[in-house]
């Protein structure tokens, strides 16, 4: 009977789907209840990483400003007029961390929500990026009521209005010649090979390389923009390496970087990643260990095997164990080839 009733309701078209009218209250409750249950159940298997690093939240904030704020609005800002017309209306996210479990927040940002306009994360399988946003959401001020409503500004960003120059957008996360990137998961671009930078941006532009952060930014770039940005960074000086004292891990990483691991059919990293090789092969010196580890993980699991170059690298990364990836990351983190080599490691190398 119920089914027939619902069927008739649907056929008749009597239920009004206009966004100008809210759902009936019982319907609204039912939908919200089902939504919460679904999110709670599906996010059960999510494993939480460490989100305490404030820099991670800072990276999340940068993405939030462009990717989320247009609908959800930023703390201290009024809601964008267009977003106000949406139903269900995108909730303000101050205090979202107290309404949702962390794993649920991750799941929502990662997968989006059907029938709500909330999109899934753009970079497929880039869970690592999603966590930055979650880290930011956790740190968002809980209550924004301290700012009087009329003083709240309408958002300056979003929907293509008032875009800052592309280069400024890059620098916001990747830093400039003096400043390191906002977070270790963001690569240093200064002093990188131009060919590589141009390729990476084109790959993001075409959706061949996955990133929820970079893809939307690169999508709007023209070929000239890409060339200009690549040249800009290639001509800049590489920021000074933060030389860290080498430990056993660094020494092992150095060995892999320089000699490879013949037993595992693993070639030396530097035979391709060196200044004199193809402009398409990036330099690795000065990249943070965090970034290297994450990217090698993406190569290894095949997420980055979609491009011609990514395919080359993923064939090789499959042979690395997680420990070896950590070793290489530690070595590059300590400054890579440009870092001074401790005396005992020099002896070992000879």
């Amino acid at each position: 009977m119920v089914a027939i009733g619902l069927g008739l309701l649907a056929v008749s078209g009597l239920y009004n789907v206009a966004a100008t009218r809210p759902h009936f209250r019982p319907v609204d409750h039912l939908i919200k209840f089902a939504l919460r249950r679904s999110i709670s159940l599906h996010s059960l298997g999510v494993l939480l990483p460490d989100l305490t690093d404030p820099a991670l939240a800072q990276l999340g904030r940068e993405h939030f400003a462009t990717g989320c704020a247009p609908c959800h609005s930023q703390p201290g800002h009024a809601r964008h007029p267009i977003a106000r017309g949406m139903l269900p209306s995108p909730p303000r996210l101050e205090g979202a961390a107290s309404r949702w479990e962390t794993r649920e927040l991750f799941w929502i940002v990662r997968h989006g929500l059907k029938f709500t306009g909330m999109p899934a994360w753009t970079g497929r399988d880039r869970d690592d990026e999603v966590w930055a946003v979650v880290a930011y959401l956790q740190r968002m001020p809980h209550d924004d009521d301290t700012v009087p409503a009329r003083e709240k500004r309408t958002p300056a960003l979003g929907f293509g209005i008032d875009e800052p120059s592309p280069l400024a957008r890059c620098a916001a996360c990747h830093g400039d010649g003096r400043r390191r990137p906002v977070h270790a998961s963001v690569p240093v671009l200064h002093g990188q090979k131009e060919g590589y930078l141009a390729r990476a941006l084109s790959e993001y532009h075409d959706g061949r390389r996955q990133s929820g952060i970079m893809e939307p930014l690169a999508a709007v770039l023209s070929a000239e923009d890409i060339g200009r940005i690549a040249r800009h960074f290639a001509e800049a000086d590489r920021p000074a390496a933060v030389a860290r004292p080498g430990d056993a891990r660094v020494a092992r990483g150095r060995r892999i970087f320089r000699e490879g691991v013949p037993r595992q059919e693993l070639p030396a990293c530097r035979s391709c990643h060196a200044p004199e090789t193809s402009a398409q092969f990036p330099l690795l010196d000065g990249l943070s260990g965090h970034y290297v580890e994450a990217q090698l993980g993406l190569f290894r699991s095949g997420v980055r095997s979609g491009t011609t170059h990514g395919r080359i690298m993923s064939v090789i990364a499959e042979r690395l164990s997680p420990e070896q990836i950590a070793d290489i990351a530690a070595f590059l983190d300590s400054g890579g080839e440009r870092a001074p080599v401790p005396a005992e490691a020099r002896r070992e190398g000879e």
Binding site: G260, P262, R263, E265, L266, P267, A268, S271, C272, E276, T277, S278, Q280, F281, T308, H309, R311, I312, M313, V315, I316
Partner: protein, 332 residues
């Protein structure tokens, strides 16, 4: 018994195979040296015995089923059972066993007569590393092809450092496994000049089916000259295209895995390419050896030979691939 049997089998098989005939390049039925020549008559003898026994059993069953009563009575006697089921097998098998032992012993004799010619072949996934030693004691590396001087006994050391492979050139000898942690020794002796094909005979995962090689037997004098040439560094690119190929070789990091003697490319993971242009095949007897095949291999090796350990370089443009092909083809 061996010769007529062989003629018979040859006739049978060529009747079935009008095109291929009996000159199979990888056929154990066409022995061309060493152990294979010793095994051949033993094989035909045992095959002959098998055929004779098979014929006998067929006739006996036929008689038992529909033969005259008197014959059938004979077949059901106890002495027939003991004679046919016990005495006959013991006699025939003793003969075969002794013959087999004698052929085994011939292998030992051949090995102790092997001279100072040593080649080390290492099974890799999924290709063969071949290291010769020159009379001066220098090591010369090659891959996926074994050259032998006709009439000399060559001691082949068989190694592996990944999984188990098996070295098998049917025209020259039986197979012998390459086992990590062990060194097996096989003595090869080519009786006549010519080319034969070998293949990995122990399943080694992935591209096991595409792990073959050629053996080129050449007159001893030619072999010595060839080995001397093989020990020399690679040829230098002459044309602009070849030079471009050489530059691309360096720029794309090919030297991480491949060696070209006389250049900075000193990688040890993949086959030595110093004289790759002079070999009969690439990709362990998967493709012919020419500039176009090199270009195809570099970009499409993961389709030509799935799971092989070299990454596919599809980043290279067609003209770049052509240049690389031209450069590699030059390395004779």
């Amino acid at each position: 018994m061996a010769r007529p049997a062989r003629v018979l089998a040859c006739t049978c098989s060529s009747a079935m195979l009008p095109l291929a005939g009996c000159a199979g390049i990888q056929s154990a039925l066409v022995p061309k040296g060493g152990e294979a020549l010793d095994i051949d008559p033993l094989f035909w003898t045992s095959a002959g015995v098998a055929m004779a026994v098979m014929a006998m059993v067929t006739i006996l069953v036929a008689v038992a089923l529909r033969g005259p009563v008197r014959w059938r009575q004979v077949l059901s006697r106890e002495w027939f059972l003991t004679g046919g089921g016990i005495v006959l097998p013991i006699v025939v098998l003793t003969f075969l066993l002794v013959y087999g032992f004698l052929v085994m012993q011939a292998g030992a004799t051949r090995m102790s007569a092997a001279g100072e010619h040593v080649v080390t072949v290492t099974g890799k996934r999924w290709w063969w590393r071949v290291v010769y030693r020159t009379p001066e004691g220098r090591e010369v590396e090659s891959a996926n092809e074994l050259r032998l001087p006709v009439g000399r006994k060559v001691m082949v050391r068989l190694l592996s450092d990944d999984v188990i492979h098996s070295f098998w050139v049917p025209q020259l000898a039986g197979k012998l496994d390459m086992i990590p942690g062990r060194i097996n020794v096989l003595t090869l002796e080519a009786a006549e000049p010519g080319i034969s094909r070998g293949q990995c005979a122990e399943y080694c995962g992935g591209a096991h089916a595409l792990m073959a090689f050629h053996v080129v037997a050449m007159p001893a004098a030619e072999y010595d000259a060839w080995l001397a040439r093989e020990a020399m560094p690679a040829r230098v690119p002459a044309s602009a295209e070849e030079e471009r190929g050489a530059a691309l070789f360096t720029a794309n990091g090919c030297g991480a895995c491949h060696t070209i003697a006389g250049t900075r490319a000193q990688g040890r993971l993949g086959p030595d390419l110093t004289h790759v242009g002079s070999r009969r095949s690439i990709g362990a007897a998967t493709l012919p050896n020419d500039a176009a095949a090199f270009a195809r291999w570099i970009a499409e090796n993961d389709h030509i030979k799935p799971e092989n350990l070299m990454p596919p370089y599809r980043n290279l443009a067609p003209d770049e691939l052509r240049a690389l092909g031209a450069f590699l083809d030059l390395l004779e």
